[in-house]
Symmetry: C2
Subunit: 333 residues, 2 copies
């Protein structure tokens, strides 16, 4: 079957060798992807952004024509209207706010969300999207997202023309909150949070490959995410948060957070939407609502999925993909 | 300071080489320990029990005189009054019930708790204690203990002369439930559940050394456990559930559940009870209430703790102890 290519509105591509290893999986399934800036070092300036985009396009090589990286920068207390203006001129379409210490490379992130009001103001004026990692630092792990919703509501109430995305929502509470806010507030939903709960991390033996931030929550939260993703509401669109780490970094007591879902995006999303009887809602979720929210035209590229059993490899270039070892019903043609 | 030796009323000693490595830490701090039967193969018959006790006493070597292993057997649907009678004659003081698949070596465990009514009856008649791993199979991980409380209440209501221990309680709900039941029902509390919450497993990077079953819960659950342990109620006594696994088994994607607390029992419990202003409650919790519940005389051995900073080693014979790398205020003299 023919399917419009995805827009992956939340993606970690890393740098160097790992970028080259993981990028082909995204390029083969996605027309565009919103590239997270929490590289090491992070994307902070217009020059960082230009360099990173060049590195991505170079890694994409001949496939470049079919793939557009949508660039972002990391919001820090050092941002001002002039640096943000430069980032926008360099091609940024969004800024990403990481609360302090809540995920990979978020050390030294934000604790005082109000101190950044001038930054949100500048972004609003420039038409840049504010992407939020919505977890409150210092709160108990399972409560971090829900406790962040007050911050979201305060920013949304104060900056009514600012487009805000609550990234990778994991709770029924976040779904309700975003649903109730005006249309300038949306949320991304990952592939893995549609599939797993906390039990897939720790219900049996500990499975570090299902460890991610925010951590997967309860079965009823997962059900709320599935309902949101298949609801036809334009407030919920796809962002994989695919976040590759070497098997070494995941398994050997390093405990890195992130699920590498890029290689299995289309087969697994197709399967899920079929399973819940929402096949007709898939295209809007993965390739229309996100584009519309970001003010982009719908992409004009297509992929072909074949209904054929496919065994997800245990390892791809030293990285374990999501659902490694599982048999899927669809595969890329 | 002088402290009566502990009775560790819930301990995994393993077998073979690992038994020899871990036993000295228990022997140096505990007069007795209730030895869990989920070895591989499990302790099922009177002969298994005799063999395992011999192996333990042999491993204890010259320290043997100062240490008494309190033996248990694993309850299975195959138990009958005759096999239980033989186990009692061989020295068993308790039987341990593992629900199916909820922890290490619990595969093939119990799903139908009512089918074992004749077993509970026989144990009641023989004065054997019923030790319960209180998690309901199939429930969501964080709910397993709370959902098991119905099973506990049903057994307690039906077998009013049966002594029952709800092992390693982790939730405020379990504390309330046990508190409200008659005096034939008690609970053990581990060292690690007095110290950690789910955040210590997954709040920052994933820390497999804090992965245990039942998993540590919320801060308010931990507070309820501390209140119970320091309350002076004879219904709550110490059982470490120290459960050694090689670093390999913990870290390298094997994901084994269990915290190895045996080497740090006395220093950490002393520190905790001091910190919460309950120093006077420690001795009853670790060396009186358990003995009384099991109908044993209070042990007559003592240890000496010195107030001296002690750095917990990162590794002991290839096993990482609880709180490895932490500085403690007390050490064994």
């Amino acid at each position: 079957m023919k399917l419009r290519k995805f827009d992956d509105m939340h993606l970690h591509l890393r740098q160097g060798e790992m970028l080259k290893q993981v990028l082909p999986y995204t390029v083969s399934q996605c027309a565009r992807a919103l590239i997270m800036p929490n590289t090491s070092p992070a994307v902070l300036t217009d020059q960082d952004l230009k360099n990173y985009r060049s590195e991505i396009l170079q890694a994409a090589g001949s496939a470049e024509a079919g793939f557009e990286p949508l660039m972002t920068f990391k919001i820090t207390p050092a941002c001002d209207s002039s640096s943000i203006d430069n980032l926008k001129r360099a091609g940024a379409i969004a800024g990403k706010l990481y609360p302090d210490g809540v995920t990979t490379n978020s050390e030294g992130g934000v604790r005082d969300f109000r101190a950044l009001f001038p930054v949100y103001e500048a972004m609003q004026d420039l038409g840049l999207v504010l992407c939020l990692h919505g977890e409150l630092p210092g709160a108990f792990s399972l409560d971090r997202e829900e406790k962040f919703l007050d911050v979201l509501q305060e920013i949304a109430a104060r900056f009514t023309r600012l487009k805000i995305v609550l990234e990778h929502v994991t709770t029924a509470a976040a779904v309700s909150c975003v649903s109730a806010l005006p249309s300038n507030v949306a949320a991304t939903i990952t592939l893995h949070h549609l599939y797993i709960t906390l039990d897939d991390l720790l219900g049996d033996r500990l499975n570090p490959h299902n460890f991610c931030k925010p951590v997967a929550k309860r079965p009823e939260d997962r059900e709320a995410l599935i309902r949101a993703a298949t609801s036809g509401s334009a407030k919920f669109f796809f962002g994989s948060d695919s976040a590759p780490h070497s098997i070494e970094a995941k398994e050997c007591a390093c405990g890195a957070a992130g699920v590498y879902s890029a290689p299995v995006l289309a087969p697994l999303l197709k399967q899920l939407f079929d399973d819940v009887g929402a096949s007709d809602k898939l295209a809007d979720f993965v390739s229309r609502f996100g584009a519309e929210f970001y003010g982009l035209p719908v992409n004009q590229d297509f992929i072909e999925l074949r209904e054929e059993e496919w065994l997800v490899p245990e390892e791809l270039d030293g990285i374990k993909p999501f659902m490694a070892g599982s048999r899927l019903r669809w595969r890329l043609a």
